[in-house]
Symmetry: C2
Subunit: 408 residues, 2 copies
DNA sequence: GCATTAATTTTACTGCTCGAAAAAACTGTT
DNA sequence: AACAGTTTTTTCGAGCAGTAAAATTAATGC
């Protein structure tokens, strides 16, 4: 029903969003620079910033007094009013939950970390746990949380159609439970679930300026294998991120048993448990270990580096699984860059040859050029950055840009 | 540089595009219905339609005089002024080229069909051939082609970055040549290349109302294997269709030799030549036959239907290749419907079991539900419909909606 | 103190939408 | 034939956001 009618309301929203977007990218800008960045006239920038300052969204930033050398009226920087809004960002991972309170300027205000075990969500359901922890943040930061506007949760797994719970997840006990409704009802703000893989991809682009307008695929290698896709200029919508389950793309029909219960998934060859299973010649159909201690995996890597046949065999099979997975990806979507992320990057040198070999067999790769391969060992920072960026952008677009014209 | 600034120009363009879109969907509408369909006020519809009628884009349609029973002022239908513009649509396939002259209302005005052989484009380069053929249309329909506004070409293969030629194509002699520039220079109108697979998917949705807002993947089975993706409400942009080469997604590492020169492509198992090669126990590494006569393939199908072991084996392998390909697709993009299209659908019953078996091993399929499988034997009609729809929509958005406010 | 320079704001005007009221174009009834 | 009833379409005036160009503001340099 609701078509994109263009009236003065939508024009205002559009141009305000443009201003906010430019400020998100730059941090703070003078009005003149803002006009140049958005393409709007100076007069419009004056009107828009005036309104937004009156609404407490933006604020003049005291200029640096000292180093004024240029003639002419000095430019006044405009930036976000950090206290305008706060968001709670939750990263749910297999072995920990991290809750961050972030202000409207994107600055971290407070943070809670909680370790998780496979039993955690059996004892205390995830939604309950989150309600408690966010309540804790509310007690610690009453002034800030009074202006809480949004809760965003990074999750791993397959979202169900409603987008309010996970249909499947590698995090034990997380699937099936409605995470959104209890939080929304308790705190009275919109709650969203985002796939960690995509956030990783978005965050990775933001952290590396040279990836500015590349289309990138990230491949997380660790206790799971997960992919995120990110194309420039366009945030993939809700429905579009439904199914990037690269780790559970089939590699070999009737192949090794995966944690997900299927057989032959890429993960069953390239996650830590898969590599260990191969290296120790454990039958492919043996149920995967619940968790691999980091030390054990590190030991396998050093064995591989030293040329141990069993170890290199494990990494070779992992590389082949990833390589053919990427080759198959290329047939559908050809990113300009592939970034390998996570603990498994330490073994990248052991897998590289097989990855390259598999990619060499891709028609699209041969014709359009192979994607650039890179590694990035820490995945936590980009995921957080991606979550901050996505959540604030959503807040900007849906609420801040949509504020009414004048406050009478 | 050019951001999406919202000013009165863009508002006009937006709302005019909304009107055109509603009319494209319905054919013709009364002003009141247009207001309801677009969400614009009656006053705005009056202003917009008045301007567009003055510009010769739309026209009042003589109402059906006879069956007026209702009281009140009779509604006047508004429709496209067919003579407002004409487009030439070209479908380049392996064995024929078809050129259609279509008016602004989407009605076919004239058509030229030309058979192609593998040697055709060696003797006469594709661009030259098209210039000649379109020139032929120009002679036959001088009045119409005087108002030619666009040339759109449906192609198979991988587009190069510029979008003006194919980096690779299954059509012999087509790759590498710039198709866009010579035509644009000769006829002075924009020329676009679109991937046949995607047009097929778009057209398929339009032809079957029950697919109205499904996300669909089409799989063409014939002398090649090709996929098209179509999601509702959003036309995939130029860059996004770059790489849907499903037929050349790897199925088996180092597998059967494909026409593209790679090994193990789905096509090498599921295109007609691949199935025949399997059925006749020709070694997988034997270079594929150039073209398979339809009769020969039909004969193989009937042998399969009668239970011939060699034949059913060929179709089984084809089904498995398609099934695992779809299963791998599901890990990245999960369409609600998969439509099998083309000559190969006649053998669908022989492949179905293996396809289902492979899909059953997909985690995403198990969790989010398997896509509905259908068949559609004729692919020509949906490709044409898709090409008409896409081309006229582009014309509407980029030129017609952008016409100036008043003609002084 | 005054010219010069560059950033903002003010002013005057444009174009588009919208709601409400008026006009138009029919049917049916008296 | 005039009039009432209905539904569609057009007209009118207000409101709002944008732009260009002029005016204003706040520094620097002589």
């Amino acid at each position: 029903m609701d078509k994109g009618v263009g009236d003065s309301d939508s024009v205002r929203r559009q141009n305000r969003a443009l201003v906010l977007e430019a400020l998100r990218a730059a941090g703070s800008l003078a009005r003149t620079q803002l006009a140049a960045a958005t393409g709007l006239s100076h007069a419009s920038i004056t009107a828009i910033t005036q309104a937004m300052i009156a609404q407490g969204v933006l604020a003049d930033r005291p200029g640096p007094r000292g180093d004024q050398r240029a003639p002419g009226r000095p430019a006044v920087q405009i930036g976000f009013n950090r206290a305008a809004a706060y968001v709670v960002l939750v990263e749910l991972e297999v072995n920990r939950a991290r809750l961050s309170l972030v202000d409207y300027g994107g600055t971290l205000v407070d943070r809670i970390e909680a370790p998780l075990t496979p039993a955690s969500f059996r004892e205390l359901p995830a939604a309950r746990m989150l309600v408690e922890r966010i309540g804790q943040l509310r007690q610690r930061d009453p002034a800030e949380t009074a202006r809480l506007r949004r809760i965003a949760i990074s999750v791993q797994g397959i979202l169900d159609k409603s987008g309010s719970s996970l249909a499947w997840s590698p995090v034990p006990g997380l699937a099936g439970a409605d995470l959104v409704t209890p939080l929304r009802d308790t705190f009275g703000v919109p709650v969203t679930l985002s796939k960690r893989g995509r956030l990783l991809a978005e965050g990775t682009r933001r952290l590396d300026p040279s990836l500015g307008d590349a289309s990138i695929a990230t491949v997380f290698l660790g206790s799971t294998v997960a992919m995120g896709l990110s194309a420039p200029g366009r945030w993939l919508g809700r429905g579009e991120e439904g199914a990037t389950e690269f780790g559970h793309m089939n590699h070999v029909p009737n192949g090794a048993l995966c944690r997900c219960g299927m057989r032959g998934c890429i993960e069953a060859y390239a996650a830590d448990y898969g590599i260990l299973r191969t290296a120790f010649s454990v039958p492919e159909t043996t149920p995967p270990a619940a968790a691999i201690p980091a030390a054990e995996f590190d030991h396998l890597i050093s064995r591989g580096m030293n040329g141990d046949r069993a170890a290199t065999h494990g990494f070779n099979l992992a590389g082949r699984a990833i390589g053919y997975g990427l080759s198959r990806l290329l047939a559908l979507f050809a990113p300009s860059h592939v970034v390998i992320v996570g603990p498994g990057t330490r073994a990248f040198a052991l897998m590289r040859a097989e990855i390259d070999l598999a990619l060499a067999g891709s028609l699209v790769g041969r014709i359009s050029g192979l994607p650039q391969l890179r590694t990035l060992s820490d995945e936590s920072e980009p995921v957080f950055k991606g979550l901050v960026a996505e959540t604030l952008r959503q807040l900007d677009e849906t609420e801040i840009a949509a504020l009414p014209a004048i406050v009478p």
